[in-house]
Symmetry: C2
Subunit: 339 residues, 2 copies
């Protein structure tokens, strides 16, 4: 079990000082060619790699970015991470992941831990509980220390930082309009409570599309599901109560649950009811019928978030006190659930 090689050990072995070794390895001309090659060869032979922790301490930067998300067992978040990781690695950064599990307290604890020197900046999406409480003191604490944050998807409007979002209002608007153009008149929406900003915005887009065409809005045609795990019965009741010929769902889980419920009730998708879902994940691609979706481009959002963060980190210094909100274009992916 050969213990890790350090500058000190090399110095002792070759009977030179630590500084000489360090300089030689960085090819400093202060060191004679002879000594330099001797040291470099030794280092190569015994596979010397400088200790990251020591470098971090010295340089006051870790080359790591912290990602805090509510859940990882969630196709959208998994794709985001994938994008963050890709860009981060390209630029020589590593990714530390913490899950809030939709809990405010865990989000705070995780941020505190990471903020204490473990990382250079954050990429994050807020937990439901945080959105509900509207308590963002932990975010402020971090930004006050001069540590940059890039938020995506579930963002806090009144925190000054870069943000990567999709235009939820417009996307819902377009999807709704798509259904209307297919001559669906009795539309239902399956959404989340309003404190989840994406739920609120998508609901807004849904309403706007209807109003634009002069239809009036029936609040009973909008279902707000609290408990995503046990949404089955709620959705069934909702569908039984209305006579919808078109449905918009804010995620694919709601959509496929609705689709199955409808088929169980003897209705045909898309003939009787057309369905569009947010989030273009596995379920949409493999459900029967396959679902028309609004692609959220998680990969792309993650990549943009990481790129933005790293740019901030490497910009000469926080003179760059302007923040940007990037809106990623969504796209409607047509499949079997719309005619």
């Amino acid at each position: 079990m050969a213990q890790k090689l350090t500058l000190k050990k090399i110095a002792q072995e070759l009977k030179v000082s630590i500084s000489t070794v360090s300089k030689a390895l960085r090819d400093s001309h202060e060191i004679s060619v002879e000594t330099r090659t001797k040291i470099q060869e030794y280092a190569k032979r015994y596979n010397f790699k400088p200790n990251n922790i020591a470098l971090s301490l010295k340089n006051q930067k870790t080359k790591k970015i912290g990602v805090i998300i509510p859940e990882i067992v969630h196709h959208f978040f998994a794709t985001v991470i994938s994008g963050v990781e890709r860009v981060a690695n390209e630029k020589g950064y590593q990714v530390i992941i913490c899950l809030s599990g939709e809990s405010f307290d865990k989000e705070v604890v995780n941020m505190d831990m990471l903020a204490n020197g473990s990382i250079d900046g954050f990429v994050m999406s807020l937990s439901k509980e945080t959105m509900e409480r509207q308590d963002f003191h932990h975010l402020r604490e971090v930004t006050n220390q001069g540590m940059p944050i890039v938020m995506f998807d579930r963002v806090a409007d009144d925190i000054a930082c870069d943000k990567i979002i999709i235009d939820d209002v417009e996307a819902a608007n377009k999807a709704t309009d798509f259904l209307l153009r297919k001559n669906r008149r009795n539309l239902g929406l399956i959404s989340t409570p309003d404190y989840v900003n994406v739920g609120r915005l998508r609901t807004q887009g849904f309403k706007e599309a209807l109003m634009k065409r002069g239809y009036e809005i029936d609040e009973s045609a909008i279902l707000k599901v609290e408990d995503i795990e046990n949404c089955g019965d709620k959705i069934k009741d909702f569908l039984a109560a209305g006579n919808y010929d078109g449905l918009l769902a804010v995620n694919e889980l709601f959509a496929v649950t609705a689709s199955k419920a409808l088929q169980g009730m003897g209705k045909k998708v898309p003939d009787d009811v057309a369905i569009i879902a947010f989030t273009d994940g596995m379920l949409s691609k493999y459900a029967s019928p396959t679902l028309t979706t609004i692609g959220q481009k998680g990969e792309e959002m993650g990549g943009l978030a990481a790129a933005k963060l790293i740019q901030k980190l490497e910009s000469d210094h926080q003179e760059d006190e302007t923040y940007e909100t990037v809106i990623v274009k969504t796209s409607l992916i047509e499949r079997e659930s719309t005619p």
Copy 2:
């Protein structure tokens, strides 16, 4: 932008030495009660938190564990991470994730980076390319340095380390037997190439179940899919060529693809063809019909791996040179795709 508070700054402010501050904050009786409370109050008021990097350097441990997996956009791996994260956090550890993207080189680079002081130990599942090459020098290098590894799912038999696996042979065996007991006689298997050990082992279990009952093995009833992304046509051809009444698939993607293909060919699932899939993920739960699966218990495997690793890390020292292979019990989850 209040710069981060350090011991040094507190010391200057309160006109004492750094050591006094450090001791006071750790409640040392070497410091008078008076001085101690003064310092503690100051630290609390200005929210002092010791710098993680400095602690890591001093203690020669980071309280971080590195996870290297092939992909994160993969329900099974996502659940494993979720389990790792849960247990790690409970024990005060954080999780650094790197993705190999099924590439040998990326796996090596990531391990090298992490091994240089960034983490205390690894939890990992090998990339396909690594399994194919059977080149494990990077694993050996790490273990030789005294850094523990726990492997799960895709493991290398000849590396000495703890392993968490499911009994793939037995699980496939049981699933096959289940189909046979339902009077299915013409069974097909959709698997991966043999260098992926889980594919090989599940194939073995499938064969053993048939032989045990005296059926002979028809190699043409076994499909080995290389390219998981574009498996559709291969599977369609395979199903068209045989007249199966029962199918075992080594993952749910293959299973749901097969199910849809069969239904497209006018066959009924499960009446004409029964299907069982490995990996109990989203697809199985929401496909039509829902799929009977073999649950791989990713959460549990991740949790066990993290617990094992941390136990190794905190055991008084590598006197504990024995390695364990934990076999996680699978369970057959019956749904609509089997009668």
